[in-house]
């Protein structure tokens, strides 16, 4: 708890400030402690941005993993938008880094094939669970396997003036291939914002994010089975997190409000308990 690491301090702070404005807090912290910029920007999840693929007309999601400089790669066409300039326009950023997103921005041939399959599979998943929204999957090569991120975003339809909601799922995984099995490490974050207002209710805002991790060894006999394994891991994780979110957003919040203020009379409640105790006591005798 009393960690002195500035990065941990920043995360501690971000866990306390209003999660609805994480982006603002993030840039504020970075201007207080610029050294943390890189680390924070790559590890703090923010709501995803949607972009239309110019080649296919389909929407895809933007994140650090499909970014190269100011360009983002569409999972549908494998093309960057704006297109990457070989000469490295601006001279900054292009061709410099070969780590993280730089190398990951374009997966190798085999991994790209899996990426295509994964995008198709999670498009089905998205339709079945979200009945709308946008999904994108990005893979990149690792020394002993590959890694990827599964992104899902759904916003409640605009036009509803009283209630709004946005769901962002970010599942980052690493698959280490060990012969017939593969070790998967999954870190999942869901960012969920819900707001409602009304004349008698006033304004209610429930915003936040939760992160959970899981690690599992699963058998692999083909590249298809990788997709199935990742699919199951993400599906199980989302089910778990959805239940957790439901519990925290609605159950826990309601309980805490109930702990702060009791709808019923406290003295009456006390009397009832005493009566009950006496009753139980008399029955024992």
């Amino acid at each position: 708890m009393a960690s002195q690491d500035p990065f941990d301090c920043a995360l501690d702070l971000l866990r306390r400030l209003n999660p609805k404005h994480t982006g603002d807090h993030l840039s504020n912290i970075i201007s207080l402690h610029p050294d943390l910029a890189e680390e924070l920007l790559s590890s703090v999840d923010q709501p995803l941005t949607v972009q239309r693929c110019k080649q296919t007309g389909r929407d895809y999601l933007l994140c650090d993993y499909n970014r190269d400089g100011d360009s983002y790669r569409s999972p549908w066409s494998n093309q960057f938008d704006p297109p990457l300039d070989e000469a490295g326009a601006g001279g900054v950023g292009a061709g410099g880094s070969n780590e993280g997103a730089g190398e990951g921005a374009v997966p190798g041939e085999r991994v790209r094939k899996m990426e295509i399959k994964a995008n198709e599979a999670f498009d089905v998943y998205r339709e079945l669970y979200y009945e709308g929204g946008v999904s994108s999957v990005y893979f990149w090569n690792l020394d002993d396997g590959f890694a990827g991120v599964v992104l899902l975003k759904k916003a409640s339809p605009q036009g509803d003036a009283t209630t709004s909601g946005v769901w962002d799922s970010i599942h980052v995984f690493e698959a280490s291939e060990r012969g017939r099995t593969s070790n998967y490490r999954l870190t999942s974050t869901v960012i969920l914002t819900l707001a409602t207002k009304g004349a008698s209710l006033g304004e209610v805002d429930l915003s936040g994010n939760m992160t959970r991790q899981v690690e599992q060894d699963l058998p692999v006999d083909s590249d298809e089975s990788h997709i199935a394994n990742i699919g199951r891991l993400v599906e199980d994780m989302e089910l778990k997190m959805r239940n957790l979110l439901q519990e925290v957003y609605f159950g826990k919040a309601k309980d805490v409000v109930g702990d702060l203020r009791s709808i019923g009379s406290l003295s009456q409640g006390q009397k009832d308990r005493e009566t009950q105790r006496e009753l139980i006591g008399s029955m024992r005798r």
Partner: protein
Amino acid sequence: MTTKENHEIKSRYQKHGGSSQMEPATCLSAGNIPGLGGRRIFHSVPRIFGVSSNCQPAVPACLPRGPPTDDGLLAFHHFACSKAFDDDSRLQELRLWPSFDWRFTDTVMSSNTAIISSFVEGAPPGEACLFFCTRLLLQPVPELPILPKRATPSSALDLHPCWSRTTRLTVRVDIKAITGPDPNLIKNLSPAFQKYNEEQFITAKLPGGSSQVIISEFSALGEGRYFDSESQSSFEFDHSTGKAANVQSHVLEGEQASLVKSTLNTVGTYVKEHYPNAAYGAYPIENDNKVAVVIVANKYSPHNFWNGRWRSFYIYDPSSNSLEGSIKVDVHYYEDGNVRLLTDKKVNASVSAGRAADGIAREISTAEKKYQEDLNRSFTQLSEGAFKALRRQLPVTRQKIEWDKVASYRLGQDIGGGSVRR
């Protein structure tokens, strides 16, 4: 810029770590700044980073805050270099270039203060965000030993008397901000603390007393003093430590004094019936023309990673019998995440005939009961409505996906069409 000046700046720059491959013409954005005898000064630090060919691009966190002012000085945001710079002593040197601006000190410190103030004001119930800010700011940075060198003004920096002064000043402030508690920071933050404490109805115990007194705009006397109607006393409140001191007698004598006292009784009875742990107060306000009622309940459970606060206030206007106020609930849950419930409900009621103190308590009781029921209902509605509409618990088939056959899902039904946006 004359060749000599150009050379001077270049060599100065190189001496302090600039890459020799850089040409001043490209690496220094030379602005002709009025007020300094038309001397050209390099003032665009990100540009210096950007063209450096032997290093990774920096995080351009330093940007001029606007065009030069009339007296020809630029203000900078703080800036930094990326990690790639850390092993490179020359680049560490670049860290403080923006401090050329003598107002950098003020600007950066005041912008830091503004940021930390926003953190303080946005703190969730039961948590002192300043604690984390302070720890964040107090981290020593590896290149600290180099900093004192920058404090020595050199001829190139003596373009204007204030510049050398500034350099020293800034270094001192920077070192302080980085290495040890800065007494000014706390001092500068006091408006934020005050705002937070008054808005959040922070409670304190009077020395020797046991009951809670509430800090609010309604109980403020000015100059850091507040009063409590129940104990008929006033006290000094330290906004940064949260401690009350210097208690004096504060007897209510005005027109509303008796209404305040009877309202304390009626509201007190109500509060005890519905709040396991709350503080409340009633205060004459607006030149003794109205009465304010404040209720605040806190429940902190940091070991279980959640805290909550209910606060409400009402203003009774005897001339119109109107009761106006608001209820705000703030719940924070932060176990492996950060979830926040923030609500705001305006209350408008009218106190009917009869004893005003009874009417006030009755209206508050009615409004708060109804609000809590409405809020509980809204949890259910959000859960059953918006939340469900975002993501189903299971597909319509009520079965999990058969991932081995997922490719055939597409063949059977044109399921993927949904992602092509209209």
